[in-house]
Structure formats: C-alpha cells, structure tokens
C-alpha cells in the first residue's frame, strides 16, 4: 500500500530549480531515507510533502490526500520533526508533551495516559518536571521525536533529525525510529549521515534537485560496486555542480 507518492514534483524559486521533477512511492511501515548533500533539495521536497510549500508542478499524495489541494487532511495524518527539534525550551517536559498533544488534536481524555506512556517509553519519568532547556541535546531529540508521533500519525517526516548529535545518541535515536516503524508508522527521513542510510529500508540519493538513485542500501552497494553507502554517495555526489549552502 502506497502512503506517499510523488509524481514529477518540481519546485522552482525564480530561475533556481530546487527540486527537479522527482517521482517515488513509499509503502506503509517503510523507513524511507532521503539522502543528499546540503542544498540538494531535501528540505524543499519534505516541505512540499508536508503542505508547507506549494509544488510548482507535479503532484504529491500523502496518506491518499493531495498535498496541494487537501493539505488540511494531510496535516491530520502526519507528524513532523525538523533539525531544530522545535520544543519550547522554557516549558517543562510534560508541558511540551501536553501542548503538542493538544495542537495535534489528541482527544482530551487520552492526553494524560498518552503523556505517561510517552515518558515511560523514553525513560523520562524523572524528567517530567524538568525545563526542556536543561536537557542534553540527545534527550531533546528523543523527546522531540516522541512528541511528533504522539497522535499516532500514518507518516512521520523527519528533516535531518540527528544533526549535531554524537554517533551513540544517533544509534539510540534510530532504535526509536524502528519502534515507530514496528507500530506501522511510515518514516520519511532526510539525512546526510551515510551510516544512517544503512538503517533505512530504501534510500533515494538526491543530487542537484534530481533523484540519482533509489533502491535498498544493499542493492545500491552492489550496483555501484561499493562496500558502503558512503562510497555510493560519493560516486554520485561527484556529479554535483551546485554549491552547498
């Protein structure tokens, strides 16, 4: 079953083609990696799929809804987490959870049980009343991810969720991603860490706004005759003429 489907999606800003005619499908429960150097167009692509940015041409469907015309319906079915984490630093952990539960439209009577469940799943019971600003980066990240799926969306979009975090914390973070995928949540994740690419079910590699490759990590390594995703990526990224921003 396809939960995300992009058909010739294109976004231009003036003369600049940020996303150039990309097409792909993502199935339910899949962890779909979106790889590319900075400035390759990952964030623009994710923004179009979330309804934050209007496609210049082409169509996008998320959870069966048109991202351009039915963005309200799309929003009800997705979660989103960006590289900035987007937690309120001057609110306590539970206040952040409650706030986002409310914003995402979790029914009032479920909020407190969901809050407890969330705190337990990431082992934050003791930090319930801590202000978010005093949490370490890796913890904030875990919290931000758990909050972004508190309403049990069909799909969660993660835009470089692991930026600036050490490899160990990244590993732990990916355990959370797997847990979400086990629950049937489709994960759409962008990253420029190639070790993370290995964790995905399928990856696309974007170069200069175009999709240069799309397959499982294993198949890509075989196809490009490399022993790591890093090698695959470098081979493809060499073609780039666009400067990273």
């Amino acid at each position: 079953m396809k939960v995300i489907s992009a058909n010739n999606l294109t976004k231009t800003f003036g003369d600049f083609i940020a996303v150039d005619n990309i097409s792909f499908d993502v199935s339910k429960g899949e962890i779909f990696g979106f790889l590319g150097a900075n400035g390759a167009g990952k964030t623009t692509a994710i923004k179009m799929l979330c309804g934050l940015s209007k496609p210049t041409s082409g169509k996008g469907f998320v959870a069966g809804f048109d991202v351009e015309k039915e963005s309200e319906q799309v929003k009800k079915n997705i979660g989103y987490m960006s590289q900035k984490f987007a937690l309120y630093e001057d609110l306590k952990v539970w206040e952040n959870i409650r706030l986002y539960a409310g914003i995402y439209g979790v029914p009032e009577k479920e909020i407190s049980s969901k809050t407890d469940l969330l705190l337990e799943s990431i082992g934050f019971q003791k930090e319930k009343n801590t202000l978010v600003k005093s949490l370490p980066l890796g913890w904030k990240q875990k919290l931000a991810f758990s909050v972004s799926i508190i309403h049990e969306p069909k799909i969660v979009f993660l835009d470089e969720p692991t930026g600036g975090v050490d490899p160990l914390a990244r590993r732990k973070f990916w355990e959370l991603i797997y847990q979400a995928a086990d629950k049937g949540i489709t994960v759409f994740v962008t990253t420029h860490y190639m070790d993370e690419a290995e964790y995905c079910n399928r990856v696309t590699i974007m170069v200069d706004g175009k999709i240069e490759a799309l397959d499982t990590p294993q198949n890509l390594k075989t196809e490009f005759n490399q022993n790591s995703m890093d090698g695959v990526f470098h081979q493809l990224a060499r073609k780039s003429i666009r400067k990273a921003d």
Partner: protein, 368 residues
C-alpha cells in the same frame, strides 16, 4: 477552542518564566509614566527674566509682579538701556526680557492700547515657544483682572492654546503620550518578537504542519498581549489620576473604547512586522526604530507638531499614536464627547482594518 486555550496558556508561560519579559511588560509602563511624568518634563520653571521699563508706572509694575510671583519666572534685574539686552542673552543667564513702551499706563488709559515686547532666545525654539505661551498667559491674566476690578476696557489679545491646561502642567501632555507609547511597545513589539521567536526556534514550522488553523495560531499569539495591554492601560490610568493628579475629565468608557481601537492597530502592526521578519533581533529593531522613534519624535509627545517642518507634519499623519494622543487629550483632559473625536476614531479604525488585512494575507502566504 481547546487548542486555542492550551496555546494561549503556553504564551503566558513564556511571558512569566522569563524575568526580563515580565519586567518589560509589567514594570516598564509604570517606570515610563513616572519618568515622563516627573523626570522628563517639558515644562520650564524659574526662568530668569530682565525688564527694561522706562515707564515705571502702576501697570508695568503690576505686570512685573505677576511675572515674579509665578513659578515659571524669577526676576533677575532691571536694565538701564536697551543696549544691555543682547549682552545678557550672550551670557546665557536669562531666558526672557520684557520691554515696556514709554508711558505705558497712560497709553492704556488714553488709547486703550499699549505695547509689551517679549524678547526670547530663539536658538531653542521649543523652550522659546513654551516661555512665550507662559508669558502671554500671564499678561492676559493681568488684563483680565484689570478689566474685572476697575472696569477699564482695553485690547485683549486672547490666547487659546493653553485654555484646557490652565495650570500649564506638563503631565497633561505626558500621560496621553506615554499611553500611546506603552500600548505600542507591549502590543506591537512583544507580539512581533514572540512570533519571530517561534520562527527562529523552528516551532512555527511544526505549528504550520500541525492541523492547527493558522488563524488560531495568530489569535493565540495575540490574545495574551491584548490582555496584558489592558492591565497596562489600567495601571497607567490609575497612576495618572492618583500619582500625577491628571484627572479623567471625560467619559472613562469612551477613553477605553479609543484605547481598544489603538490596541488593535498596535497588534496588527506587530503581526505585520512578524510576517516579514525571521529573527527576533530584527523584529525588535524594526519595532524599536520604526514604531517607537516616530512616536517619541513625531507624535507630539516631546515636540509640538505645529513647530515641525511641513514634511514632518505630513509624515506624522501616518503615525497611529498621533491620532490616539489627540483623542486621549480630547476625552481625558478636555472632557469632550464622542463627536469631537469621530475623525480620530475613523482614522484609527481604518488603520486597524487595513493593517490586519495585510498581515493576515502575508501570514497565509508563508504557507505557500
């Protein structure tokens, strides 16, 4: 509705968990009204004056007495010749010289007309204007008294400029101005900064991706500052009445009504600023430079609009605070009714409507 309440509550957490924000919002208005009311006053007291009086008769002495007994002027010396005047000003120790014509009293009795010349230092036009106003007021007062007590009729030049402020109190000008400034500061600056902060933190993106409607996001950003500005309005009015002794002569409800319109203008301006900027610092600078400076300089709070170059007078028309200050003066100080401020109400309401429309449109395009 639920979303709105939760989100508004969160906004109050932001405000009260940051000591500086709380201070700015609640204490700054009090400081401002006290500073402007007591400290930075535009009224001038105890200006030294000299007299050249060749007549030395009852009338000229009477006027001189009136001057020296007023709190605004202190008699410094009598001059023997007009040549001394310029030297005195060059020394800079004197603010006003009064020159009486010869046979001053006789002239009054015979022709019903007499001349007094007021000489002032024009290098500071605002002070000169204030002193002129004080001086003409005192001379008029003298004439008035003479007319009543002795029934001597002579030419009275009426001066209506200070009619509603008979004691020439500077606070009468300060209170409406500070009201305009504080409300603008709280509503526009704070709203724009708090929205810019969400953009900077990345939370705005998440909010826009969430099912929450943009109009709810805007409303719940704006409502807390609306409430706080009501608190500030109350504090300012209480301080003016009980501390600065500036009474509310007109209708309190009309005053509140005008203030509400002005608050809407300020909130809309805040929204507009936040829709074009991405960073808190920029929002702060724009609201500081583009909103506060014109209010202080061009709204008539510090400098009389009539004294400004014609271009600046023209520019002052687009400053909402100017109209608000006029309306507050009319209602609060002069005690006039709604008919007197109908123009100001129309202008402010149109500003509110236009600004809100533009900022809502701008905010929506951010989703595209």
């Amino acid at each position: 509705m639920k979303q709105f309440l939760i989100f508004t509550k969160k906004e109050f957490y932001h405000i009260f968990r940051d000591r500086w924000t709380t201070l700015i919002l609640l204490v700054l208005p009090i400081l401002m009204i006290i500073l402007f009311g007591f400290g930075i006053t535009t009224e001038i007291k105890n200006t030294k004056f000299a007299v050249y009086d060749p007549s030395r008769d009852v009338a000229s002495q009477g006027i001189i007495n009136k001057f020296s007994t007023s709190e605004y002027f202190t008699l410094s010396e009598y001059l023997d010749s007009p040549e001394q005047i310029e030297k005195l000003f060059q020394k800079g120790k004197i603010g006003l010289v009064i020159v009486f014509s010869e046979k001053f009293h006789e002239n009054i009795l015979h022709t019903g007309e007499a001349q007094v010349q007021l000489i002032l230092d024009g290098t500071d036009p605002n002070t000169a204007l204030t002193l002129t106003n004080y001086a003409t007021q005192i001379i008029n007062l003298y004439q008035q008294e003479q007319k009543e007590s002795k029934n001597i009729l002579y030419q009275i030049k009426s001066e209506i400029k200070l009619l509603y402020n008979p004691t020439l109190k500077g606070e009468y000008n300060t209170v409406p101005g500070v009201m305009g400034m504080v409300l603008m500061l709280i509503c526009a600056m704070m709203t724009s900064v708090s929205i810019a902060r969400e953009k900077e933190l990345g939370t705005m993106e998440v909010l826009l991706v969430s099912p929450m409607k943009p109009i709810i996001i805007i409303l719940s950003k704006v409502v807390p500052y609306f409430f706080l500005s009501l608190i500030n309005l109350t504090t300012i009015l209480l301080l003016s009445v009980f501390v600065l002794k500036v009474p509310i002569v007109g209708s309190l409800w009309l005053l509140i009504f005008v203030s509400l319109i002005f608050i809407f203008v300020a909130l809309a301006l805040g929204l507009l600023i936040s829709s074009v900027v991405e960073k808190q610092m920029v929002a702060l600078l724009i609201s500081g430079m583009a909103l506060m400076m014109p209010i202080i300089l061009l709204s008539g709070l510090m400098f009389p609009i009539e004294n400004m170059p014609i271009v600046l007078q023209w520019i002052s028309n687009i400053i909402p605070a100017k109209w608000f200050i006029i309306a507050v003066k009319n209602v609060m100080i002069k005690g006039l009714g709604i008919a007197s401020i109908i123009n100001e109400i129309i202008i402010l309401t149109s500003m509110a409507v236009i600004l809100t429309a533009i900022s809502l449109k701008k905010f929506k395009t951010r989703l595209e």
